[in-house]
């Protein structure tokens, strides 16, 4: 299931977890948990915004366009190796 998720995500280039959930016939919540696990195992990496501090503590947060943005994950070299 995890490998299938990784493969689906990689094939599409960009996918949303809701669309992936539909394809895997599971809920978006489960996809979310699986993405976290893939990140814990080093196949995916959570993309953090490049700002030097986290959004939570950012003084510019209220002026920022970037609050309601999606969480983003990307494939790591380990993930790429797995998919071959």
């Amino acid at each position: 299931m995890l490998e299938r998720l990784l493969r689906l995500a990689a094939d599409k280039g960009t996918g949303s977890n809701r669309a992936l959930a539909r394809q895997l016939e599971v809920s978006p919540e489960l996809v979310e948990r699986m993405l976290e696990e893939l990140a814990e195992r080093g196949y995916l990496q959570a993309v953090v915004r490049g700002c030097s501090i986290s959004c939570k503590h950012c003084p510019l947060r209220r002026a920022c366009l970037d609050r309601n943005q999606p969480r983003v994950w990307m494939l790591t070299p380990k993930g790429e190796r797995l998919l071959g």
Binding site: G13, G50, C51, L65
Partner: protein, 674 residues
């Protein structure tokens, strides 16, 4: 854990669950005053224990720390796992949050590979129902093959039934036959080989099968232990076997998710109500490869249109009536004062920074509409659609997030490029970032397009933004193919649900941005306005003989190809300090002589639409402002590349300006408007 004959049987019961599932409530209900609190051996984590006697059986209940899984990643996880392995409870009662059943079932899947019997208490059934989730405990029970009891612990509902089930399982170990997550045959074989290698070397109380599984999963604690248990050559074999099956963990963990998916499909129904179904329906269009892109264009078009329709008129009124009135009033009041002072205040300060301040309505409407799109959850989709679009163009996918930030300001866009590990990709993103039209340039656009193009302003603005995006894409592809080797990356985005925007959030967003603009207008822009005014006066006589005029005329050959006179060239140069200065400088240099008319009318009378188009094109593509440039250098740490970026943008801007002007001349736009 049976005591001597005659006395009641005592069962050891572990109470497991994730944090915040109501485990403590249940523990307090069960044990009441019999609780005693200590510490787990060698740990600072509290160990709570209590007892309950029911129907002749005594239950010793141990409250395990709340954990999301049992991977031994945290002290709490290790405690829960060791308790089960070392103290071997007769039964574990797992409390689950019914409204987040997937995450909770993960813990259950991990519990089921341990040598322990489990009953499941589904707490917060009321919350789940309020969320529109319907769970059928009896179906889940059949699917899991273990007792499942619905609970509302806060109201003491189902608690007696749960303990009854726990006691039943404790009494009758052989009847416990749960359906565990499956492992693929290939890995089953690896497990068998591991067990052969481990044979007889695993000390009690660790079950060999479980140790083999954990080794294959890459569990750090068990790996460490196994290394100590096994003699060196044997460990070498195990290590080699594990190395060859590094990705087995995906299969094992994946099997758990498949199992969870099956359970949920069997026992949970979620009528797609309200926001979820709305989100799904809206997303059919919003994230569609083609419709999504069109919708994005329409959305940005609407933002511009709304800005022009509402704010541009207010801006014109502010400029002519308020700033114009102030200028006239001030000039009158200062007739006694030295002429230079009057000129400085009327033409330099009010004519420059004052005109920029009239942008305020444009800014407020722009940020309000943008805030509306953002807070409703749409901008997340915009990022998604654009990212896919950039993939099609062969651009570095990860560049999109920082570039997207550039619409607000290029400075965070450049800093945002830090997310890209590959230095080539980072450099590329930094070089491209200034091509994203920032709000400062959009303001200049919003002010000047109606001046030159009247009703067509919306289309011209959208067209100019599109030019920027196209240049960005083309340059991206070019640089990607030549200087940098392109890398493909997969992205997964978690799109938020749509919701009704919150006026307060949008209000704060608008206010913060407006305030930042006001600070800029009263500092940087004011200083530049005064400097431009001074340079346009000295040494004189008149503006035509000023230092600025000489500078501007020095650049005339290039400017002529774009139909610009020296004043427009100077306006462009001053925009290097801050993009809004383009308008402030035009205000000072063109403001003279037109007493009654606003800057808009004066400009429309003095500049042809063709030259205006060239000016706007260059403004949009021109070298980044000084703040962006400073950050670019700070991030690239190389003057060579920073200057390369500047030179590249300069060349592109000038080329595009010439093309725009000559093209516009061919279209007959070389005639001055009224």
């Amino acid at each position: 854990m049976e005591e001597a004959n005659g006395s009641p049987r005592t069962f050891l019961v572990g109470l497991a669950g994730q944090p915040n599932v109501g485990k403590s409530t249940l523990f307090n209900l069960l044990t009441g005053l019999s609780q005693h609190v200590g510490n787990w051996p060698g740990k600072t984590v509290e160990r709570k224990e209590g007892a309950l006697t029911r129907d002749g059986a005594r239950l010793r209940i141990v409250d395990l720390p709340g954990t999301y899984s049992l991977s031994a990643g945290s002290p709490e996880e290790r405690i829960a796992r060791d308790f089960i392995l070392l103290e071997r409870p007769d039964v574990v009662v797992m409390v689950a949050n019914a409204s987040a059943i997937e995450r909770n079932l993960y813990l259950l899947a991990e519990l089921l590979v341990l040598p322990v019997r489990v009953v499941l208490g589904l707490n917060m059934m009321d919350v789940a129902e309020a969320h529109g989730t319907r769970l059928e405990p009896s179906v889940l029970e059949a699917a899991l093959g273990l007792p499942v009891v619905p609970l509302v612990a806060t109201r003491n509902q189902g608690v007696a039934e749960l303990m009854e089930a726990a006691e039943r399982v404790a009494h009758n170990p052989l009847a416990f036959r749960p359906k565990r997550p499956e492992i693929r045959d290939a890995h089953r074989e690896v497990l068998a080989r591991l067990r052969v290698l481990l044979d007889g070397r695993v000390p009690a109380p660790y079950p060999e099968e479980w140790v083999a599984l954990k080794l294959l999963e890459g569990d750090a604690e068990i790996t460490e232990k196994a290394r100590a248990w096994l003699p060196q050559p044997r460990w070498g074999e195990v290590h080699a076997l594990l190395g060859a099956h590094e990705d087995a963990v995906l299969d094992i963990a994946g099997g758990r998710y498949e199992w969870i998916g099956r359970m949920v499909r069997a026992a949970v129904t979620r009528p797609r109500l309200g926001r979820i179904s709305l989100t799904d329906r809206l997303d059919k269009v919003a994230v569609h490869p083609l419709w999504g892109l069109l919708l994005l264009l329409v959305a940005f078009g609407l933002v511009f249109w709304f800005t022009f329709a509402v704010a541009a008129r207010m801006q014109a009124w502010l400029e002519v009536e308020v700033v114009g009135g102030l200028q006239a009033g001030l000039a009158e009041a200062l007739t006694e004062a030295p002429p230079w002072l009057s000129n400085l205040l009327v033409d330099g300060v009010l004519g420059g920074a004052g005109v920029v301040l009239t942008f305020l309505p444009i800014l407020i409407v722009f940020f309000a509409t943008l805030g509306l799109l953002e807070d409703s959850g749409y901008l997340g989709r915009a990022a998604y659609v654009m990212d896919r679009f950039m993939h099609v163009l062969g651009l570095h996918g990860k560049s999109f997030l920082p570039l997207f930030l550039g619409f607000g300001c290029n400075v965070p866009a450049v800093m945002g490029a830090r997310v890209i590990e590959a230095s080539s990709g980072r450099l590329l993103t930094i070089l491209l970032a200034p091509l994203v039209p920032c709000t400062a340039r959009l303001q200049v656009l919003a002010f000047l397009t109606p001046v030159f193009f009247g009703r067509l302003a919306v289309f011209v603005s959208a067209g100019l933004v599109a030019v920027n995006v196209l240049v960005l894409a083309a340059l991206g592809i070019l640089l990607n193919r030549t200087l940098f080797r392109g890398q493909h990356m997969a992205f997964i985005m978690e799109l938020p649900l749509y919701h009704v925007p919150n006026p307060r959030t949008i209000g704060l967003f608008v206010w913060e941005n407006t305030w930042a603009f006001l600070r800029k207008a009263t500092t940087v822009i004011l200083v530049v306005s005064v400097a431009v005014w001074a340079l346009s006066r000295f040494p004189g006589p008149g503006m035509e003989h000023s230092l600025l005029a000489q500078l501007g005329r020095g650049l005339a050959p290039a400017a002529q190809l774009m139909g610009m006179d020296w004043r427009m060239v100077v306006a462009l140069l001053s925009s290097f300090v801050a993009k809004e200065n383009a308008v402030a400088t035009l205000g000072i240099l063109y403001g003279k002589g037109a007493e009654k008319a606003g800057l808009a009318e004066t400009l429309a009378a003095a500049v042809t639409p063709a030259a205006g188009l060239a000016f706007l094109t260059v403004t949009m593509l021109f070298i980044p402002c000084v703040a962006t440039l400073a950050v670019m250098h700070q991030e690239i740490r190389s003057w060579r590349w920073t200057l390369f970026g500047v030179a590249l943008l300069m060349a592109i801007a000038l080329a595009a300006g010439v093309v725009a002007y000559q093209g516009a001349l061919l279209l007959g736009m070389g005639v001055r408007g009224a």
